[in-house]
């Protein structure tokens, strides 16, 4: 049962978050990984025997509506949990293998708790649980990023997306009067602002995936530690968004504009990611662009497969993880250089290490080619071709630059970096596993790595390194600047409102008039009271006038 797994994961997560000394921490991190592995084994065991189970308890009740916390175990959920679990496991392993964290166990704990939240998201059956799990994933991302500056745009953008999703779900709930996800079907029949709900929700999902126009949040991750970035990109908000895309697919399909909107968003993202990955100097930024392109591909493929989760999607995710891990090795062996231009100057130093990375990359290319050819059909061929083409060119360009293109001599300190046998073997093993099911006669299996290698060696592509020197391109994504303008305009709006309505209209006009009127009153009053003769005349007149009027009104004259 998945519920059992969730409970175990939660316990391990809490256990490994205990603060211990540096030496004990290493042991604890290993124990955490081992325990996770055992739970994974248990999970796989459960997956083979995937019967429908449901675990639920009454969470809250309000306004005659019961809110249940549910963890539903079924083959579909198992299949969806699988890649998340596997990637988390690999993440924990890397945490053990690399000395990237001061507190390895705490980081592993974060990954495990994140996995728990993802599982709750996957197995949920109601809107509130769904959105709660989504929020929890986002909160955990804040800790995973650990860098306030980077977390700021990421969190803010995700929060806005979450709020939009919150609104959409609240809107659906208001119509169907039920929290059940299946009730979206009924909402389809009712159709109250359905286009708005679908497109707003989809926009929120695209925002979380970091699609073109909304990539600012993800792009901010380029300055955090590589492995953290890798895990956030694959396990955190974007993964949660992908799960939501699947779970709420009935909602998107309500709108007639869904297909065209998704098409435009995905293709634009692919092109944008291609341009970005070629022109930007920051290596992590390139990785983020590739990851974004990958999410665009996933969305398109999922759409063509009618949002059915087939094993190939799992393979694709793992292949992407392996690909980024290989890039991590490349980055690691290059003295953790942030910029590709700096990497180019290091290539002579660690030849063997770089060769090992190249080997892993070729294997990954083959595995990816194999999966994509298996998924290739008449409907999605354009998308696969475009992705394969752009992805191959951009990755080959960068790798070719790192491996072959000569830059200026590096003047910084070059550390003696040990060969990471553990990770290398792990990645090779994973590639082998992925290729194990491959049809060896499939030409793409051989052609894609060959083309990839050729492209890597193509000097024409290396010339794109020219962009690394252009300050305009390196200043950041143009949309970054647009976002800053938007934020500033919001602020300006607020300031203008405050000045115009509060200060000018309320304070100066309304209150000023009132104060002015009261001053006139007081002046008149004083004038009357300081001039007794004038005042006396006024008094007599007022008195007589009042009496006379009163007399007349009381019927005195006519009576």
């Amino acid at each position: 049962m998945i519920a059992y797994t969730v409970l175990l994961l939660f316990c391990i997560g809490i256990f490994s978050s205990i603060k211990v000394g540096v030496k004990v921490d290493k042991v604890l991190a290993f124990v955490t990984f081992a325990s996770l592995f055992l739970v994974f084994a248990n999970f796989c065991d459960g997956m083979l025997d995937a019967a429908e189970h449901s675990f639920s308890f009454m969470w809250n009740t309000s306004s005659g509506r019961d809110l249940k916390f549910e963890i539903i175990s079924n083959p579909y959920n198992y299949a969806l949990v699988m890649p998340c679990f596997l990637i988390t496991l690999l993440g924990c392993l890397h945490s053990v293998l690399f000395r990237a964290e001061e507190r390895k166990s705490a980081y592993s704990s974060l990954l495990i708790l994140n996995l728990t939240a993802l599982i709750i998201l996957i197995t949920s059956n109601n809107f509130v649980q769904l959105i709660s799990a989504l929020f929890i994933v986002d909160i955990l991302a804040l800790f995973m990023i650990k860098d306030i500056k980077a977390a700021q745009p990421y969190m803010l953008l995700n929060m806005v997306a979450d709020m939009v999703l919150f609104s959409v779900l609240a809107l659906i709930n208001s119509r169907v009067d039920s929290l059940d996800i299946k009730e979206i079907l009924r909402y389809r029949q009712i159709g109250f602002h359905a286009d708005f709900a679908a497109l707003a929700g989809l926009t929120a999902i695209f925002t979380k995936l970091g699609f073109a126009v909304f990539q600012v949040g993800n792009m901010a991750l380029k300055d955090i530690r590589f492995h953290r970035m890798q895990n956030v990109l694959l396990l955190s908000s974007p993964m949660a968004a992908l799960i939501l895309l699947l779970k709420l697919n009935m909602l998107w399909r309500i709108s007639d504009y869904f297909n065209i909107y998704a098409d435009i968003a995905c293709y634009v993202t692919l092109v944008w990611a291609f341009i970005g990955s070629i022109t930007v100097n920051n290596f992590q930024a390139k990785v983020i662009y590739w990851q974004t392109a990958f999410w665009a591909l996933m969305v398109e493929l999922l759409r063509f497969y009618g949002f059915a989760w087939i094993p190939n999607f799992t393979y694709l995710l793992i292949e992407m993880y392996v690909f980024i891990s290989a890039l991590y090795l490349l980055y690691f062996y290059n003295n953790r250089c942030r910029n590709v231009s700096q990497m180019m100057r290091l290539r002579l130093t660690h030849k063997k290490r770089l060769a090992s990375v190249a080997f892993v990359l070729l294997l990954t290319a083959a595995a990816m080619a194999n999966t994509l050819t298996q998924m290739y059909n008449q409907e999605n061929y354009r998308c696969i071709w475009l992705f394969a083409g752009l992805f191959s060119v951009s990755t080959a360009t960068v790798i070719g630059q790192v491996f072959f293109y000569q830059g200026k001599r590096y003047s910084g300190v070059q550390h003696d970096i040990s060969f990471k046998w553990g990770v290398f073997l792990e990645l090779i093993a994973l590639c082998c596993c992925l290729l194990y099911r491959a049809q060896w006669k499939n030409p793409a299996l051989w052609a894609v790595p060959a083309v990839f290698a050729l492209l890597c060696a193509c000097p024409l592509l290396w010339k794109t390194a020219y962009f690394y020197k252009v300050r305009y391109w390196q200043r950041g994504d143009v949309l970054n600047r647009i976002y800053l303008v938007i934020i500033k305009s919001f602020r300006l709006c607020g300031r203008v409102f405050w000045l115009l309505i509060d200060r000018l209209f309320l304070d100066k006009v309304i209150l000023g008039t009132a104060v002015g009127a009261s001053h006139i009153c007081l002046r008149t009053f004083r004038k009357i009271h300081t001039k007794p003769l004038f005042g006396g005349v006024v008094i007599v007149l007022v008195m007589i006038g009042l009496l006379w009027y009163s007399y007349l009104a009381g019927g005195g004259y006519n009576g």
Partner: protein, 472 residues
């Protein structure tokens, strides 16, 4: 005859006291002795007045009932309450007090007669005496230019008032052949539309308005009260009011009832004018006494607005407001007695800066009394405001209600100025130590307010039975 003399004893005691104070052998510097004598005589007169409250000496000249008793009690109570802090003032200023005490006796004497008057001649006489008494008290502030001018203005107005009273009395006598209230009423019933008679009524009413300090005849009192001595200021704000209101209500219910329909709008106009001028006037100055003097105009305006139909309910509602006002205003006045710098009692608002830090209890009490006057719960003032406004709402006077409440907001500004000066201005000024007696007086008035606020049924229902006597 003997019986009549006995029934006349409260007035006799007051007269004796007055004569002793005026012509008796006296020590100019013995203010303490003067006050002790006055207190004893006033207490004696009060006891006798209570004992013989329903006895009349000359039939047709005065009446005695529970209504007169109630207003008598208020008058005597206010006078006695004034004696207490005034004694401290005169002793500390080392000034002779016989004229002050004498005027007070004159006011109580004429006031009690005015309350129980059943004859217009007596009413006119009492009003004239009150005007004289007021003038003499105002005249006491020797050396101050504006007071001198003010007292002259008051004298001028008082003389005009007396002339008006005399003219009114002549017209009444001409029209009814007698000045007894019953005869006058009959004459007014018959000559309802007689313009001359109505003019006489107007003259009489104008004098009452002058005595009450209502707008537009507030000039003579409010403007000069800012410069008077504290006992005189307190006297004007608390003592003659109950007597004049008593006499005014008596006159309206027993005599002017036939022409009330023609007077109603006049009363309303005067009341609304008073409310407006009181509120604006209190915001216009920096003199704290002037602020309260204008505040008085505002509050008395509300009383008149409530009373103007002179039905039992109106009188009851108006009385509740008046009673609460007097009690609260007395509290404020005692607080003013407790705040002085280097032996000098304070006039200007700026002199109160930092009072809350030096005299926290007196300042707190002053604050409570002021908020009470604004009608904010849980203070007693709420009861008065509620009673008056409820009466207005009962008769669908919603516009007046709204006007009144808006003016109350304006008045609040004036009171807030005082609060702000006392509390929010951080000035390290020094204040003289206040007498224990002042604290006792403040405590007593506060205790009375709390008791009434917790158990208001005596005020609301208990006094109603006494007021009913007027309508029997």
């Amino acid at each position: 005859m003997l019986e009549s003399l006995i029934y006349f004893s409260p007035v006799t005691v007051l007269l004796i006291a007055l004569l002793v104070l005026m012509f008796g052998e006296r020590d100019e510097e013995d203010a303490y002795g003067c006050f002790r004598f006055s207190r004893i005589m006033l207490l004696l007169s009060f006891v006798l007045a209570v004992i013989f409250y329903n006895k009349t000496t000359v039939v047709g000249l005065t009446v005695g009932n529970k209504f007169t008793l109630l207003f008598d009690c208020m008058l005597y109570g206010a006078a006695m309450a004034l004696f207490y802090p005034s004694r401290k003032w005169f002793i500390s200023m080392n000034l002779p007090a016989h004229i002050f005490c004498g005027c007070l006796f004159l006011t109580v004497l004429s006031g009690s007669l005015l309350i129980s008057s059943a004859n217009f001649a007596l009413t006119a006489g009492c009003c004239a005496t009150l005007l004289i008494s007021n003038y003499v008290l105002l005249k006491q502030n020797i050396g101050k230019k504006e007071i001198d001018f003010g007292s002259k203005l008051y004298l001028f107005t008082a003389i005009i008032g007396m002339i008006l009273l005399a003219v009114a009395a002549v017209i009444f006598y001409e029209k009814s052949g007698s000045l007894m209230y019953t005869n006058l009423r009959t004459a007014l019933e018959i000559g309802k539309n007689d313009l001359l008679l109505f003019a006489a009524v107007g003259m009489a009413v104008a004098v009452f308005i002058l005595l009450l300090g209502l707008a537009p005849l507030h000039f003579c009192s409010t403007e000069i009260l800012g410069g008077t001595t504290l006992p005189v200021f307190v006297y004007f704000l608390c003592v003659p009011l109950s007597a004049v209101w008593g006499g005014f209500i008596q006159l309206n219910v027993n005599v002017l009832e036939p022409v009330l329909g023609q007077l109603r709008l006049f009363y309303m106009g005067v009341a609304l004018l008073s409310v407006g001028i009181g509120a604006i006037g209190s915001c216009s100055g920096q003199n704290i006494r002037k602020i309260f003097a204008y505040g008085m105009v505002f509050h008395l305006g509300i009383v008149l607005l409530t009373l103007r139909k002179f039905t039992l309910n109106a009188v009851n509602s108006g009385f509740i407001y008046l009673f609460v006002y007097l009690l609260t205003m007395y509290g404020i006045c005692v607080c003013l007695f407790g705040l002085k710098k280097k032996g000098e009692y304070l006039f200007m608002l700026s002199e109160f800066e930092g009072a809350a830090q030096k005299r926290p209890y007196i300042s707190a009490m002053l604050l409570i009394f002021m908020f009470s006057l604004l009608g904010l719960p849980p203070f007693l003032g709420f009861l008065g405001v509620f009673s008056s406004l409820n009466y207005l709402a009962l008769h669908h006077h919603f516009y007046q209600l709204i006007y009144l409440l808006s003016m109350m907001t304006v008045l609040a500004y004036a009171y807030l100025q005082i609060v702000r000066t006392m509390y929010f201005e951080d000035k390290r000024a020094s204040f003289d130590r206040a007498d224990v007696g002042i604290y006792t007086a403040i405590f007593l008035s506060m205790a009375l307010m709390i008791v009434i606020a917790l158990q208001p049924r005596y005020l609301i229902f208990g006094f109603r039975t006494m007021l009913e006597a007027l309508f029997l």
